[in-house]
Amino acid sequence: MTEIELSDEEIIEKVRTSNQDLYAVIIDRYQKKLLRYIGNLIKDENKAIDVVQESFIKAFVNLNSFNTEKKFSSWIYRIAHNQAINLAKKYQKETSLQEDWVFEKYFFIVFRATFFILFRGKIL
C-alpha cells in the first residue's frame, strides 16, 4: 500500500513511529487548503504563508499529542486558525496597547464584583 492510499491518521502514525519523511505527504495534502483558509482570514498572502508554515512545524512538534482516532484535518485547521489569531493579536498589540488595558480593567471590575457579592452580600 502506497502512502497515497493511506489515510491522514495512518500516515501520522507512521511519521510518529518510523518514517518522519512521510510528513511531506501531509504537507502536500493540506498546504493549499490551509493557505486558502488563512488567506481569507488575514488577507495578507505573505503572512498567510508564514502562518501555514509555522502551523505545520507546530503540528509536527506536538504530533504526539494528536489522537489518531480523531480527524487530522480538524486538528491542523485548528492549529492554523489559532496561529492566525495569535498573529493578528500580535500585530494589534504592536499598534495599540489600548485593548489589553481595557481587558485588564474589565477583568479587575469582574473580580471585585465577585468578591463583593460573595463576601459583602452575605450570600455565604
Partner: protein, 147 residues
C-alpha cells in the same frame, strides 16, 4: 503560488531534517494532563474546605464551642493538599501552555480564572451538600469534618 507551496514543504522538511523541529515525546503530554487533572482535584478539595470554613465562621456567634469547632476544622484539614494543588496547577498550566495551540493568554489570567472557577465550584458543592456525602461515604471519608 506553486513556488511558495514548494517552499513551505521544503522549509518545514528542512527544519525537521536539521533537527530544529523536534517532536515532543508522548510522556510530556501525559504528564501535563495528569498534573492539570491533579491540580483540579486538589484545588477542588481545598476550595470546598475554605468555603465550608467561611460559611461556618459567618454563621457562628463566636462562643467557645464555635471557636473549638473552628480550631478542630483547621487542625483536621490535610494542609499538605495545598502544596500539590498549587504545584500541579502551576506546572500543569505551564506545560499545557507549551502545547501552544491555544490563544496566547497571560498565565496569571489563566491561573486567576481557574482559582475563581474553583471557588465557585466549591461554593456550589458546599451548597448542594455534596461535600457532606463525600466526607461520609466516598474516598474522602474521614478527610474533613466540617460540622
Amino acid at each position: 503560488m506553486s513556488k511558495e507551496l514548494k517552499d513551505i514543504s521544503k522549509n518545514v522538511m528542512n527544519q525537521i531534517h536539521e533537527g530544529k523541529a523536534k517532536m515532543k515525546p508522548r510522556i510530556y503530554f501525559v504528564i501535563g494532563s495528569i498534573l492539570t487533572f491533579l491540580g483540579l482535584v486538589f484545588s477542588t478539595i481545598v476550595s470546598i474546605f475554605f468555603i465550608g470554613l467561611l460559611r461556618f465562621s459567618f454563621r457562628t456567634h463566636y462562643g467557645w464551642r464555635a471557636q473549638y469547632k473552628l480550631n478542630q476544622m483547621l487542625s483536621d484539614f490535610p494542609w499538605w493538599i495545598l502544596i500539590p494543588a498549587i504545584v500541579s496547577l502551576v506546572f500543569g498550566v505551564l506545560i499545557i501552555r507549551k502545547y501552544d495551540f491555544s490563544y496566547k493568554i497571560k498565565p496569571w489570567i489563566v491561573i486567576v480564572i481557574f482559582i475563581l472557577v474553583m471557588i465557585f465550584a466549591g461554593w456550589i458543592i458546599d451548597v448542594i451538600g455534596l461535600n457532606d456525602i463525600l466526607s461520609q461515604h466516598g474516598p474522602m471519608k474521614g478527610m474533613m469534618f466540617f460540622r
